[in-house]
């Protein structure tokens, strides 16, 4: 086991393979995510980006007939051997592409994870709820109706609610899977600013279809295609005139994909 001080890697993935039934969708990939960086993950549909995130917090366990091999270590601990999968999931904030408001009030949506973790003091919960909703750029729109159902919000608001919820259990790693898919450009920019701020406190994995979003935010960018990593380098290199692989160049230039 590697200590945190010895490595700057927050997540280490080694030879990760994932199959749905007979079909392998991730073909043995290895990469690291460093402490407090934003790692952008780009690539066309079906390239295995979302599946990768689901392996990370082990929600893949709930899809029947999947097979995972290789290792994913978070803080040096293999996620597939961890004794406390709930603590692992609390360590990782996850924002899914399609917003899922739980059928609870806005307040309860955000207070859900803290409560389940055992935090019950009203004043603490109030503070967390307000802070998370502010970070998700949603507070001003909902502060007067925290008691109404989260599922009644518009698509973009629900997406920001899921971001607030993902922050509510104070994760060390935040994974966003195409968070801006249902959000207007102005709000997207506000949340991008928040992400830049959050980076000081957590590691961020940003899966995005908007290559320019990766360019704006990511320290390093990983280009995935058909379940393999084509190239992983600093964002400057990936978006430069001369990435190592021609496919990367074509993709970020919009020539294919």
């Amino acid at each position: 086991m590697v200590t945190m001080a010895a490595t700057a890697n927050h997540i280490e993935v080694r030879d990760l393979r994932l199959s749905y039934g007979m079909k392998e969708v991730i073909h043995g990939i290895s990469f690291d995510v460093r402490q407090h960086e934003i790692l952008g993950v780009i690539g066309p549909a079906q390239s295995g980006k979302s599946s990768l995130l689901r392996c990370l917090n082990r929600t893949i366990d709930f899809t029947p007939d999947t097979h995972v091999s290789g290792t994913i270590e978070v803080d040096g601990e293999d996620v597939r051997k961890t004794g406390n999968v709930y603590a692992l999931r609390r360590k990782i904030g996850m924002v899914a592409p399609l917003p899922v408001g739980l059928p609870l009030s806005i307040y309860d949506n955000v207070a859900f994870a803290p409560r389940c973790a055992g935090l019950n003091r009203k004043s603490d919960l109030d503070t967390i709820v307000e802070q998370c909703l502010r970070q998700a750029a949603l507070w001003d729109e909902v502060k007067d109706r925290l008691d109404s159902l989260g599922t009644k919000l518009s698509g973009g608001q629900q997406q920001r609610l899921t971001i607030a919820r993902a922050l509510s259990h104070e994760p060390e790693i935040l994974c966003l899977d195409e968070f801006s898919i249902a959000i207007d450009p102005v709000t997207t920019m506000r949340i991008e600013d928040v992400l830049k701020e959050l980076r000081r406190h957590m590691t961020i994995v940003l899966v995005t279809n908007l290559t320019q979003q990766a360019r704006r935010l990511a320290d390093r960018t990983m280009f995935m295609w058909k379940g393999e990593i084509v190239e992983l380098d600093t964002t400057d290199v990936i978006f430069s005139e001369k990435p190592k692989d021609q496919r990367t160049r074509d993709y970020v230039e919009g020539i294919f994909g």
Binding site: T59, V100, P103, F112, C116, A166, H169
Partner: protein, 315 residues
Amino acid sequence: MTDPQRTPPAPPIFAVRAAKRAAWAVGGEKILEALVYLCGFSAIVFVLGIFIFVFKEALPVLTRENFSLAEFLGSSDWYPTSESNKRYGVFAMIAGTVAVTVLAMVIAVPFGLGAAIYLSEFCGQKTRETLKIVIEFLAAVPSVVWGFIGLTVMSRLIVQFTGAQVGVNVLNGGLILALMSVPIIVSISEDALKAVPDSYREAAIALGVTRWQLVWRVLLPAAKQGLLAAVLLGVGRGVGETMAVLMATGHAVHIPHSVLDSVRTLTANIAAELGEAPAGSDHYRVLFLTGVLLFTLTFGVNLIADTIVRGIRRK
């Protein structure tokens, strides 16, 4: 580099714009619409028809001078065949019905919901399939068979374990009724839980909650309407069931003081006596009035359920 996504698109052929549907298909839809409309409204006709028929048979007794509605509902004296002093009080049977139903629900609701939660959230695919088949089989057991089990097996067990003098009583009826309601409650609750979108489960799981926290805080609240419907169908079964309780409760007109007392239920009373009562007699009409009472009871239960469900929905 080759990329399958970049093959040139085929030119449009505009076949759909020129297409016309066959006349019979268009007309057939109109006829089908009328038919399903008729099916929908026939429910109202049947409910009204049954109510009118039962009420019409019962009505004449209400105007008889030796009959009072207060006595019918409030008295426990049931002597319909007495030579000198006929009395028609069904209070003891109301008490019997309520006692058996309540006991059955106290047993069946936790048991049924528990089984449904296990089936939908905790057990594996294979176990679920097997258990569901067994539960459906349980639901298919005819009520007279249940009554038979109550009369023979259950009754003996109750005498043996509780020391009661007779084994056919509230406890027996309640247990039998619970066993009959559980499959209904399980299958409807399981459907309700399964109807909660998987995205809720994934969202909650990703937040690091345990399975039980998921069940308590997300699934049960999200499925509460369906679960309530399941419980009420169980209650409906309890109030309406006749044959099994007739055989299992002892058929004694008596307000129960403990679960080991024999009782008679409203339904069992009608089933047992209607054949002997001469058509058109007061006895006959009072039995129909009991039918109206049952009708009102179940209607009341449904109305309450509906109000609760509406209340939940508004929130």
